[in-house]
């Protein structure tokens, strides 16, 4: 690689690369994001490599391992170019057939295509699958086309042209104006206007300034930042370098969670390649601008994702927040002006520079522009990463793209915004998703986690879950957060354990109010959201727990009992054998009975009872019927198979 000295050299290089690429040559792309890797996609890529070698096709077929394609539900995903044929759930044993038939004879393998569970139709191309068809993938789209360890892939797709434009055709003021006009707001949770942040930092006094990528994605259930950083790291770097030039910073940091080893690895590779081409280091592209980036691995603390805490952690100290009487854009890391943006925010910047503010602002709603990537997870058919314009309705995301709720269950709520967010009930499912709307509903955008819950999810337990998480993650520095969360957690735990009392709900509301108003940082200020939003929409569930000692969803262990329905039990002995504590009595042709005193409510009997019997039932809020006398437990012949 040669260091590029001018925009013209970059364009020359790009032209040269494009000319060299044979677009007709078959290329097998294999998704190697974390989700697909967990489905053993690496074994699939090894199988392809070996098969190609075995058949001596090294020169006729290319293989590319790419970042996350987003449709994690159906991994490992394989797309064959140039026809863009998409195969889902590919196994190493499918590899030989793909090479001989799909590549050799242009034959499509029906059994590997995506089948629409509703219509039964098969989709040959990614673009025909409803999950992809209804998305607008501006930021995330290139993930499936790029090998993240090869900068050339990014350059071929127009990479670093925004940087070149920014450095040579725009002044910092013009860039700020462009970003402001685009309406881009922070994707990490706060939604602060990015252009304004940059402007304040640029005008802050001092010669030394910093830019920071926040990749400490701590929200459980959100993994878009990880997938972007793993799959298209240069888009983030390019945004960061443009930001640094705009603000006047010469050193940047990427704060990335240590739990994301692949992201760390790919970022290091991307940095060294970008430096070799001269997108980083001194005199970038011959512009005279110098900038370098350091990587800091976060050591696992949710609160360190808060901007001031993150900066403290970058200084090598305990990552706790501080009061922000002075904004971090004035006094951040090492007390110098610092601009921190989330991964996704930075990745939006090259798009805005390339295509212009007007184009960007034409997407989305009045107050929220552009697209947002959501991680659609939980009780939904098509789990994965979804990028849609701001303002898309929850229904479109969950049903049109997500394919609805599995196993014919009923949708109950969707939780957005991570532990600081809230639960939105079915009655509001047509709400458009943007910053304002979600706040108005008592939730928030957060980093874009979207956890779908069905009728089997207990909302009190959900609130307790989040408070448990937050109690663990609160740094303890300020009292309202530390104590407020703990007290709310204690009350919620009591309620889920059947020890709830009259007045608990009111007390929860009171503590929530104080925690919200008096906490130091956003963690505490929003900690009550899970409680308040579930109280707002699911108060009846709280009341059922407190007054009737009943968990309507059948989740809270202390409030449920497992019971074998005598008329359904076929005495198959499966639950009897699987019970870890020997609480089940029974024999062949003898109806099984659970001894309620020995039962630990692990639910294994419920799981293992064959679906055609479904004899095990969860009982809540009413007493368990007494066991039948021994003589009545004999199953008489032929009575079995059926219902009367």
């Amino acid at each position: 690689m040669v260091r590029l000295q001018s925009p013209a050299e970059l364009e020359e290089l790009r032209k040269h690369m494009l000319a060299k690429r044979d677009t007709k040559k078959p290329c097998i792309t294999i998704c190697s994001g974390t989700g697909c890797r967990a489905y053993a996609s690496e074994k699939v890529s090894t199988a392809f490599e070996e098969e190609i070698k075995k058949q001596g096709l090294d020169n006729t077929i290319d293989i590319k391992t790419t970042g996350c394609h987003g449709f994690c539900e159906k991994g490992p995903l394989v797309v064959i170019l140039p026809g863009e044929i998409c195969y889902v759930q590919v196994k190493p044993t499918d590899v030989a057939q793909i090479i001989s038939q799909t590549i050799g004879e242009s034959k499509i393998l029906d059994q590997l295509l995506y089948t629409d569970p509703v219509t039964g139709e098969k989709a040959v191309h990614e673009s025909e699958i409803p999950f992809y068809k209804n998305q607008t993938r501006l930021v995330f789209g290139n993930n499936s086309k790029i090998d993240p360890t090869n900068i050339d892939d990014y350059i071929v797709l127009g990479g670093y042209s925004a940087l070149s434009k920014a450095l040579f055709e725009m002044t910092p003021e013009e860039i700020i104006a462009e970003v402001k006009d685009s309406g881009l707001r922070g994707r990490g949770g706060g939604g602060f206007p990015t252009g304004r942040k940059w402007e304040e930092c640029r005008h802050a006094p001092g010669d030394i300034k910093y830019v920071i990528v926040n990749a400490d994605e701590g929200d459980p259930g959100a993994y878009m930042d990880r997938s972007l950083l793993e799959g298209n790291p240069h888009s983030v770097l390019e945004g960061l370098i443009i930001g640094a030039y705009t603000i006047g910073s010469h050193v940047g940091y990427i704060y990335v969670r240590e739990e994301y080893p692949l992201a760390v690895e790919n970022v290091f590779i991307a940095l060294s390649q970008a430096e070799k081409y001269g997108f980083l280091g001194t005199d970038i592209l011959g512009s005279g601008f110098d900038f370098s980036i350091k990587v800091h691995r976060g050591a696992g603390a949710f609160v360190s994702g808060e901007s001031s805490a993150l900066m403290t952690a970058l200084e090598g100290r305990v990552g706790e927040p501080r009061p922000k009487y002075i904004h971090t854009v004035i006094s951040g890391i090492w007390d110098k002006p610092s601009t921190l943006n989330n991964v996704e925010t930075w990745a939006n910047v090259p798009l805005i520079i390339n295509k212009g503010a007007a184009w960007y602002a034409s997407i989305g709603t009045e107050g929220s522009k552009g697209t947002k990537i959501f991680s659609l997870v939980g009780k939904v058919n098509n789990t994965g990463l979804v990028e849609v314009p701001m303002g898309t309705s929850l229904r479109d995301i969950i049903y049109t793209i997500g394919g609805g709720i599995p196993k014919g269950k009923k949708f109950k709520a969707v939780q957005t915004g991570g532990p600081s967010g809230g639960c939105i009930p079915e009655s509001l499912i047509d709400s458009p998703v943007d910053f304002e709307e979600l706040s108005a509903l008592g939730s928030m955008m957060g980093s874009g986690g979207m956890i779908v819950m069905d009728e089997d999810t207990c909302m009190v337990d959900t609130a307790r879950y989040f408070l448990d998480f937050l109690s663990d993650e609160s740094c303890g520095k300020c009292t309202p957060c530390r104590e407020g969360i703990d007290q709310m957690l204690a009350i919620l735990t009591n309620i889920t354990e059947g020890k709830g009392q009259d007045g608990d709900i009111e007390l929860l509301e009171e503590i929530a109010e104080v925690t919200k108003n008096a906490s130091l940082c956003a963690l505490g200020q929003t900690a009550a959201n899970p409680v308040l939003s579930t109280l707002r929409y699911f108060r009846d569930e709280y009341e059922a727990h407190i007054l009737e000692k009943r968990c309507p969803a059948g989740v809270c262990k202390a409030l449920i009992s497992y019971y074998i329905q005598p008329d359904k039990c076929q005495a198959c002995l499966i639950c009897y054998r699987n019970c870890p504590v020997g609480a089940i009595t029974g024999a062949k042709k003898q109806i099984h009975v659970i001894d309620q005193n020995t039962c630990i409510k692990c639910g294994i009997c419920f799981d293992v009872c064959p679906q055609r019997f479904s004899a095990v039932e969860k009982i809540s809020g009413r007493p368990v019927p007494p066991p039948l006398p021994l003589e009545a437990r004999v199953i008489k012949k032929k009575k079995s198979k059926g219902k009367k």
Binding site: Y223, A301, G378
Partner: protein
């Protein structure tokens, strides 16, 4: 406990950073990787070399989740309790693992075979509930499958 800390090895880790500022957390993470925990002697050496009071080094080491002040077992079992896994029944998986190896989350078995951790989201939500042992992911778990998986490790 095996805690033969070679001060020279610690020095090598520190020297990688060429006296940059704010490297304490990075050094601790590297030492954690090297030993699988943070032995006291290692913390003392770091404190001397970086000229940071031992109390501060200890505070950082005890604050972050990725750092362990006690030796870890041979196999690290991580049960994901992220929200997506939680709604798909992760608490029951954790319960089952705890009973199967007879320790609570955050503990290590006496024979040093397993350490058990609960983690908040591993980013493979499509597989939930998920358990990861030494980097190998087991997805779409039900409690009845747990024991069989654990038995594979010795």
């Amino acid at each position: 406990m095996v805690s033969q800390v070679d001060p020279a090895a610690i020095d090598r880790i520190i020297d990688k950073y060429q006296s940059e500022e704010g490297i304490l957390i990075q050094v601790l993470l590297d030492v954690q990787h090297e030993y699988n925990w943070l032995p006291e002697e290692a913390l003392k050496r770091i404190s001397e070399r970086l000229e940071i009071p031992f109390s501060q080094v200890y505070r950082v080491a005890s604050f972050y989740k990725a750092m362990s002040l006690t030796p870890r077992g041979k196999h690290l079992v991580r049960v994901c309790l992220g929200t997506a896994c939680h709604v798909r029944g992760a608490p029951r998986i954790l319960d089952k693992v705890e009973r199967a190896i007879n320790i609570k989350a955050g503990e290590t078995t006496q024979d040093m075979k397993f350490s058990l951790e609960r983690v908040n989201c591993l980013g493979c939500c499509a597989l939930g509930p998920v358990m990861v042992i030494d980097g190998e992911a087991y997805g779409n778990l039900v409690p009845a499958k747990v024991e069989e998986i654990l038995n594979k490790y010795d």
